[in-house]
Symmetry: C2
Subunit: 338 residues, 2 copies
DNA sequence: CACACTGTTTACAACGTTGGAACCAACGTT
DNA sequence: AACGTTGGTTCCAACGTTGTAAACAGTGTG
């Protein structure tokens, strides 16, 4: 049985509340009392009971991060950054994997979590628009990634469409004419895919290139295997591409694998660019050109937004904020060659 | 203000305890009472307050997973699996990143966590041996990865030394004579590195090959960049290798990158094998031969062990168990070629 | 010397839940 | 008719903490 305030109080010969005051750094405690209490604390190895504290104060010091899957390097890196950012505020992060299942995401948004959390950082995959509106639950939420509808939650993201256009433009600039896209998705809730596709189309139009539907490959998920399969379909199709914009790096790595398997050179025969700037792309062969969102900034901002909503003089019902984070194009071997 | 048992009780016209009984599935509740209570619960959208529940019962339903870094695909995959395994027991997972810092790991072991958790799954990096002994804290802990000293904690791991020997043997079997190792580490607490090195040496001895110290490259960390740098040093050294056993896949991917950069072919000039079987290796060029630990099993066992310690009739002070998980060699292009 | 003030400490009541004992009714057994 | 048994329900007391209000001492002011 771990010691409580009571035990410390008994040992130091003071009241429970005085010990509580010392623990919480209350100012009006006589120096010698404080010392005596501190000594007792150290001697007993007292540690505050979080459950009781939370029950009393309503705060748990825990925020949840909900992502589709930790297995994807992008989300793993994101999670790592967020854990670090949260650490600076001495918050702990609870991880929820939705696996991209709509019902799981719905539960999350409805506040059907099993655990008491002070806030939620949520990167939705299956849900979009109105479905993200919150029910009774009013724990602060920060949305990551794309969102069209302006609901009652803060939101941090890069300009997806612009970034996709940048990537496509980069391919155009190297003189490619038949530029394919891998990563389109049919579902209306696949907002990310839609936006990146829109950027791709915009850039093509801008360069005076036709948008050939045969060059747009759909995928089920954003994994390497999907990229590999999609690339195979493109190569087998009529008039194969001389460049591909993949909607994320995993798709791109899969696509490159297929290209090399089939004896094509990258970027000689086909240039490839991805999206996310995961570490793999910096060491793959060839190294992968990509769009690098400012992940660190995204993590910081997300945590900051939560902090604001949770802060002392916070206006809990303040209008939701929309924060843009910068991105940059990183050109590597898969488009430039050696 | 969210509704509590009190509100539900009032609405259903029963006592608080009866509601509690319904919520907890207590058997002796009259069917119609149960129905009435359930109705009130649904109507009010009652959700139990975890803090209060934990305060009373001592259980939080949260387990912590402490890993060096989520950014490493191996740990990310592991984390994902553990989250899933925990889900089946309706536990939530709290993630702690130690960054491999010894003091952080010490805090963790000492139970200086800020949050109430029922158990801890810990994959230590900086700490080994006696340092992992627990202080006053008696929350159950399961250790992942290597451990030499038999302390008071359960432990799940593959046979590192045997696996390393398997990998090295695979290289020997293809007729390589100058087999290098990348991933050695000086620190006495780098148990994983020591064990894999031991396996490497054993396999060489078995094959009648000399152990050339010039072929053993040390690294700071197990990241791609370290692998790339180490490979460069090996190539610049006297008598470069014709095969490399890298102590994890990231090192291997970095090493391959350097080899290809320098115009060497893989596996033509140099065969490469890694360790972990991360997804990257299945799509890299060339695809990466590796040792595949049974990750899913590791995650399951770790969670099962915790569950046992937490279970009803558990013998909390039972002797720590040592569980071995199987591994297999996965030969791909980086050793076999096309 | 009464007074207000500052600084320091304490008593008490919550927070929402659950374990245990106690209670009540209905039933079957002597 | 008195008694135990069982199912169903309620009452009470915790769990460890903190906010509020109040008590207490000491100091300087009128």
């Amino acid at each position: 049985m771990p010691p409580g305030l009571k035990d410390v109080a008994a040992r130091a010969g003071v009241s429970i509340k005085t010990v509580s005051n010392v623990v919480n750094g209350y100012v009006h405690v006589a120096p010698d009392t404080r010392a005596r209490v501190q000594q007792a604390i150290d001697a007993l190895g007292y540690k505050p009971n979080v459950a009781a504290r939370q029950l009393r104060s309503g705060r748990s010091g825990v925020i949840a991060l909900a992502v589709p899957e930790l297995q994807s390097p992008y989300f793993a890196e994101l999670a790592g950054r967020i854990v670090h950012a949260a650490e600076r505020r001495s918050w702990t992060v609870l991880i929820d994997q939705t696996d991209g299942h709509a019902d799981r995401e719905r539960n999350l948004v409805a506040g059907l979590r099993r655990h008491a959390i002070d806030g939620l950082i949520f990167s939705p995959l299956a849900l979009a628009g109105e479905e993200l509106a919150r029910g009774g639950d009013e724990t602060p939420m920060v949305l990551l990634g794309e969102r069209v509808w302006h609901g009652p939650a803060d939101h941090v993201a890069i300009d997806n469409t612009a970034a996709a256009a940048d990537a496509t433009r980069h391919l155009c600039a190297s003189g490619r004419r038949r530029i394919a896209a891998i990563g389109a998705q049919d579902s209306p809730s696949a907002v990310t895919a839609h936006q990146r596709l829109a950027g791709y189309r915009a850039a093509l139009a801008e360069a005076g290139l036709p948008v050939d539907p045969a060059l747009v490959a759909e995928v089920e998920m954003f994994h390497r295997a999907d990229g590999a399969a999609a690339m195979a379909r493109l190569l087998d199709g009529p008039g194969p591409p001389d460049a591909v914009f993949c909607f994320n790096d995993l798709l791109a790595l899969g696509a490159i694998r297929t290209l090399l398997d089939r004896g094509r050179t990258v970027p000689g025969d086909v240039a490839v660019i991805g999206f996310d700037d995961i570490e793999d792309g910096r060491f793959s062969t060839p190294t992968l050109s990509t769009i690098a969102p400012d992940l660190g900034r995204i993590a910081e901002l997300a945590v900051d937004l939560l902090a604001e909503r949770l802060g002392e003089g916070a206006t809990p019902a303040a209008a939701p904020r929309e924060l843009r984070v910068s991105h940059r194009l990183v050109a590597r071997e898969s488009t430039l060659g050696r």
